[in-house]
Subunit: 217 residues, 4 copies
Amino acid sequence: MSEEEVLIHQLFDEEKLTDKQKKIIVAAIESFSEKGYAATSTNEIAKKAGVAEGTIFRHYKTKKELLMSIVAPLMAKMIGPFVVNDFNKVLDREYDRVEDFLRATIENRRAVLIKLLPVVKIMLQEIPFQPELREQFLEQIAKKIFDRVSGIIESYQEKGQLIEMPPESLARLAITNILGYLFTRYVLFPDSHWDDELETERTVQFIMHGLARKESN
Amino acid sequence: MSEEEVLIHQLFDEEKLTDKQKKIIVAAIESFSEKGYAATSTNEIAKKAGVAEGTIFRHYKTKKELLMSIVAPLMAKMIGPFVVNDFNKVLDREYDRVEDFLRATIENRRAVLIKLLPVVKIMLQEIPFQPELREQFLEQIAKKIFDRVSGIIESYQEKGQLIEMPPESLARLAITNILGYLFTRYVLFPDSHWDDELETERTVQFIMHGLARKESN
Amino acid sequence: MSEEEVLIHQLFDEEKLTDKQKKIIVAAIESFSEKGYAATSTNEIAKKAGVAEGTIFRHYKTKKELLMSIVAPLMAKMIGPFVVNDFNKVLDREYDRVEDFLRATIENRRAVLIKLLPVVKIMLQEIPFQPELREQFLEQIAKKIFDRVSGIIESYQEKGQLIEMPPESLARLAITNILGYLFTRYVLFPDSHWDDELETERTVQFIMHGLARKESN
Amino acid sequence: MSEEEVLIHQLFDEEKLTDKQKKIIVAAIESFSEKGYAATSTNEIAKKAGVAEGTIFRHYKTKKELLMSIVAPLMAKMIGPFVVNDFNKVLDREYDRVEDFLRATIENRRAVLIKLLPVVKIMLQEIPFQPELREQFLEQIAKKIFDRVSGIIESYQEKGQLIEMPPESLARLAITNILGYLFTRYVLFPDSHWDDELETERTVQFIMHGLARKESN
DNA sequence: CATGAATGAGCTTTCATTCAT
DNA sequence: GATGAATGAAAGCTCATTCAT
């Protein structure tokens, strides 16, 4: 299975797509992520996909609908692991210590990010300009993840592993660092040399203990 | 002085702009940040600025040149405080403790960000698509800031205030958190209720000590 | 078949043109020859052709490509009769005397000129400004015709019918007179009264004997 | 006096032109002859002339008026030698033989053509598209020259030097050959190697005796 | 289903011309 | 007289979308 087919498969696992549809999606993802949604013409997508321009509009009423059909499944994917019903309990059992939970989360999100990187780029680019997308993202994705993470954090607080601070603030800080790390690693400087394991560990340790030297240690 | 004039003044302090040019710049910033560069037509900018479309092209040979004339000065502004020659020494004296340095830096960058927020949005949006911008940003801005912050961190490490870790990693973590905070505060959720002083303090404390509860306390 | 269809057929005999394409070509020829290439707008051509402006650019990437698509086949037509492989031999047999060859050539070129007159005008107008056209014309058309005519002249010289003079100079003089005649007749003063047969004969006689009165006759 | 000043002086001998006006004229001639009237912008002329665009329109109400102000004096120049009142008599006396008259005319027109070549090009280019120019040229220039040449020819006919044929036809043939020669020499192939004296002589001999070999010689 | 020619609104840019300075 | 900023119409060209085949 080629890399593109993996991407398609990741995004549209259950949906039935014709062969041409897949080609259109792949071409659109490539062009949108390279040049931006507004700067990509449907003609260009059609050529890259090897289909007639009319074929695009047979499957997607408008260019925007094509965009949405790409980005929407990504949102579902992103929220996925956090909305499994008994996520908390599972986590509680699986990861006794916050560090382990963080490490696992980073690895988990990293896997998704790498595979879907172009689609993630498209989503981030278009969120500011597509109110529909923005709303969907903020209320359905960001909020849910945020709430769930807050819940998890609370449970760790109850176990006395985390400092006393409103869980929302802790969630913000934790999420910022995980996403900041992945963003720096894969979007800003993908070409630098990275020792992933080491840098992950540093990020985890930083989240836990900050960067102040402990005098008494 | 209106808010717009402040923005213009902040960006183009030394440059001499005609009245029409200012109007064009203000209109372009507004439209670009609202709808994106590619989705904004020069016709729209002209109307909003109250000038003829031809007037835009008298001052800026192309639409892209107009974009660049807006974003380039921002870059200079961003890098400004970090390239003052003896920044390190000043800081060493002024801020004995890392916390104070962090707090001051957050406040300092916050001021710039608030005033130039729309331009910052434009820059972030277009960096992925304008290779010229991207290169300028990465090599001239990001790298310089990164190096300078690394230097500052080293000096605090030498004073024994920071943990032993490659300064570059520490710099990444610190910058991520400051920008992540400002981004969340002003770009993602500008409309939420924020207790700025408190949240700044939390961010600083987090950077210093992480979010693990200290057993010995 | 209308006059326009004849023109189109003459130029694009083997090519397959859609109906709209034919209309565009006809309209472009008309406008270009009347107002000149640079002074004709694509909007005007579209209106005259009864198609949308976009349709023009679907078939021809640029306005210049439209021009070239009109003029290029003319060049092929012009060179046509001179590049038939065994042209010389045929001529040798067919026209024993130079006079007969001249007369036949004038009639032959006249027929092409009349049918394609507007296109000829366009070509002559644009040769000085389109380097591509100029080069193509000089090297591929003018040179070939010139060489072939020189060859023919040489064969008549060998038969003792023409004076001793470098064939190139003779060719220049002969061609100048034939084209000069046709140009005067059809381009400069098409509306004067012309006795074509008589004037052709005069031209032929002039080319042969000049305009000096033969004292000894 | 530079080459440009010579050109200006040749065209506008008696007129009083300001320094800026001269620069405008020179720049316009250069651009018009290189790119064509319609394809030359006033902005381009202004830049090449080193004046403000407004200055052009201070001297010439429209772009077309600028064109006319360049081409009109050329027409006067062209007709010049032919309208001197007693041209015929002078010629009769000066050039007893037709050959000498032809030779002198070629040399005379050659001098004008070389100096004013760019302006001649402009005129030839624009005659088909500027009705005003066309009319002026045909009725005032071509006709007058034609008539005068016909007259001269008649006088040579009366002296028994030229064959019996309507003088208009003879005039057409003679003019065609002189212009055809000069056009080939200076416009079509200015860069070829030319032995001017020899080629002139050949042209004269051809006009006189044609290119048929005289059996009795 | 798929095509691709056709559309016409809209795009960026250029133009000749005006006019306050 | 000279300037050059300003104009807005018009230029060449692109676009998302439609529809007959």
